[in-house]
Amino acid sequence: MPKFQKHLQRLRKPEAIRDAVFASSPYVLRRAFSTDPTVQQLVQAGPDVVADIEKELADGGEQLPDITLACLAYVLWQIAPDRGPALLAPLLRRMLDEHGPFFVHFATHLLRQQARLPVRPLEMVYRRDEMTEALRRFG
């Protein structure tokens, strides 16, 4: 059983993440993640969490709620941004045409940062052309 299974199970329900369901933008959602105890425990656990997130993304993929996906991208961004492109780019590519209001922005932010493309550090909101630009850098 993955070490952080309980934490990740909890994140599958967006309403279990403090205030996350009230977020109107990626910025507000990031603030919610930064105050949620479960999310912060994962962040503090560091790179040990990556394998579990990888499995969670492989098992659930785009079937997971948008806020949950955004949360996994947030944790990756905090603990192992260099692993982000490999784990998030395929999902972002599949979701470009149909997606929710959060995950694509978190994933694009991480990818653009890794690709040393311009980012919006506070707002973390990206247009579609900025998403595809980031994806092109990762095959």
């Binding site: 205030d19 369901v21 009230f22 977020a23 933008s25 507000v28 603030r31 948008d66 997606h99 929710g100």
Partner: protein, 461 residues
């Protein structure tokens, strides 16, 4: 066509799902359909707080920067103590980043917001206290008044009163639409002041489109109601269609930034009670989930909040010198389900509009004798106002004349669904100025909100 601020800055927005799930929170708002069925405005990713505030529930606006641009280009700041219904409330956090917006739903006597309507992210649309929001929105609240519509949308507009400027919420007397017109027989195509009873009158409405996108496939629904200050949706009666003149009337197009006269319907009012109340709703459909609709109805059956709805609750009396005119109207609760509110009030204001002299001194008004009796028991006396009294409720003096006398009947406890008669008696002074007009505004008020009204206009002959 892209959606832009008034200065042409594009707004990025989208629809991230159409499903709606139920929210058990009692603060959750609902939408009343034309057939009076109700639909909860529950949890959805179709629109967010910014989409509710600025894009009548059509889209989710992605970026707070876009919202800041809308506020910069289309709105002006409102100082504390000057907040009005319909103003925009903006929440910011300690980083000075915009996190949330909504509309002011109620204010107190000091001009501060006391109730907000807003949508909380992907969660539902709520009525809540200004400070009662999730902590992530922050505590920095500021208020703005939207002065200009966005570009790239449509905004069907039937004026609520001669002074209506198209803003989000119309102040009293929002039941005096100059855009609902009638032509009594013989039909000469010229609007008449009053209908002919027992005969078909032509009723039509003038509809403007305040924005730069044409509205196609528009219909108007025409209603009549018994003369009443305060009307629940169930009291609106659809005027029956006649051959060649269906109701709803349409479809037709309202071009961008244009005004048209909609097709008319034929209305045969009865004389007892003297039906004088007309309502018109311009709409493309009755679907609050249709993001493709360039101007969805947001507040159906809510005249002051919805630009596409107008009400003409005006009784025009040709008043000869020295005559007495008796009119019986009603007052009733305007809700299907009564919200928690203190007892109501009946506020009566007499305003005077003199005939402007071409030469010489301005004419002084001579106050007529007014009698108002509620439910056959409680009589109301009007007290004269010294000068053009500053009425905090009506800061812009939109009462179709200068207020000269007023009175209030407090502690009105009204039962749901019951009509209460209001007997009005106007005695026109023998020395009144011919050509001047007295406006008697009868207003129902709960808390600080005017919830219904009826205006009697006595034109001195």
């Amino acid at each position: 066509m892209p959606i832009e601020t008034a200065a042409g800055v594009p707004i990025n927005c989208g629809v991230y799902g159409t499903t709606v799930t139920h929210d058990a929170d009692p603060r959750t708002c609902s939408y009343t359909h034309f057939d009076l069925s109700s639909e909860q405005l529950g949890r959805t990713q179709r629109y967010n707080c910014w989409g509710f505030t600025f894009l009548p529930r059509r889209y989710w606006i992605d970026s707070s920067t876009d919202v800041d641009n809308i506020i910069r280009d289309n709105c002006v700041p409102v100082a504390a103590g000057a907040v009005r219904l319909g103003d925009v409330v903006r929440y910011r956090d300690e980083n000075d980043v915009t996190t949330h917006t909504g509309r002011v739903w109620e204010t107190d006597a000091a001009g501060n917001a006391t109730l907000i309507r807003s949508k909380w992210g992907p969660w539902a649309e709520y009525l809540h206290l200004p400070a009662d929001v999730p902590p992530i929105y922050g505590t920095n609240r500021a208020y703005f008044r939207q002065m200009l519509p966005l570009r790239g949308v449509a905004d069907l507009w039937i004026k609520d009163s001669p002074g209506d400027d198209g803003g989000q919420h119309s102040p009293a007397p929002w039941w005096t639409s100059p855009d609902i017109l009638l032509d009594a027989p013989p039909h000469d195509g010229v609007p008449d002041a009053s209908p002919a009873f027992g005969q078909p009158n032509r009723v039509w409405t003038r509809i403007a489109n305040r924005c730069n996108v044409a509205a196609t496939n528009v219909y108007v629904r025409y209603y009549w109601a018994d003369p009443s200050a305060g009307l629940p949706a169930s009291a609106w009666n659809l005027i029956p269609g006649t051959p060649g003149h269906p109701n709803p009337a349409g479809p037709f197009t309202v071009p961008a930034n244009a005004t048209i006269d909609a097709p008319y319907v034929e209305w045969t009012p009865s004389a007892a009670p003297a039906h004088q109340c007309l309502l018109a709703v311009a709409c493309i459909n009755d679907d609050p989930r249709d993001s493709a609709n360039p101007d969805p109805l947001v507040f159906p059956f809510d005249v002051p909040w919805e630009n596409a709805i107008g009400q003409r609750n005006v009784h025009i009396v040709p008043a000869k010198l020295g005559t007495v005119h008796r009119i019986e109207i009603f007052t009733m609760l305007p809700w299907q389900r009564k919200p928690k509110l203190p007892p109501g009030e009946l506020l009566v204001v007499l305003a005077h509009s003199p005939r402007v002299p071409l030469l010489g001194q301005p004419m002084r008004h001579v106050t007529p004798r007014i009698g108002v009796t509620f439910d056959g028991k409680r009589a109301l006396k009007l007290k004269p106002m010294r000068s053009a009294t500053a009425m905090p409720e009506f800061p812009e003096r939109r009462l179709l004349g200068t207020p000269v006398a007023a009175g209030t009947l407090a502690d009105l406890v009204l039962s749901m669904g019951r009509r209460y008669p209001l007997a009005v008696e106007i005695t026109v002074p023998r020395n009144a100025r011919v050509g001047s007009t007295y406006y008697l505004h009868l207003m129902q008020r709960f808390g600080r909100t005017i919830t219904g009204g009826y205006t009697v206009a006595a034109v001195v002959e």
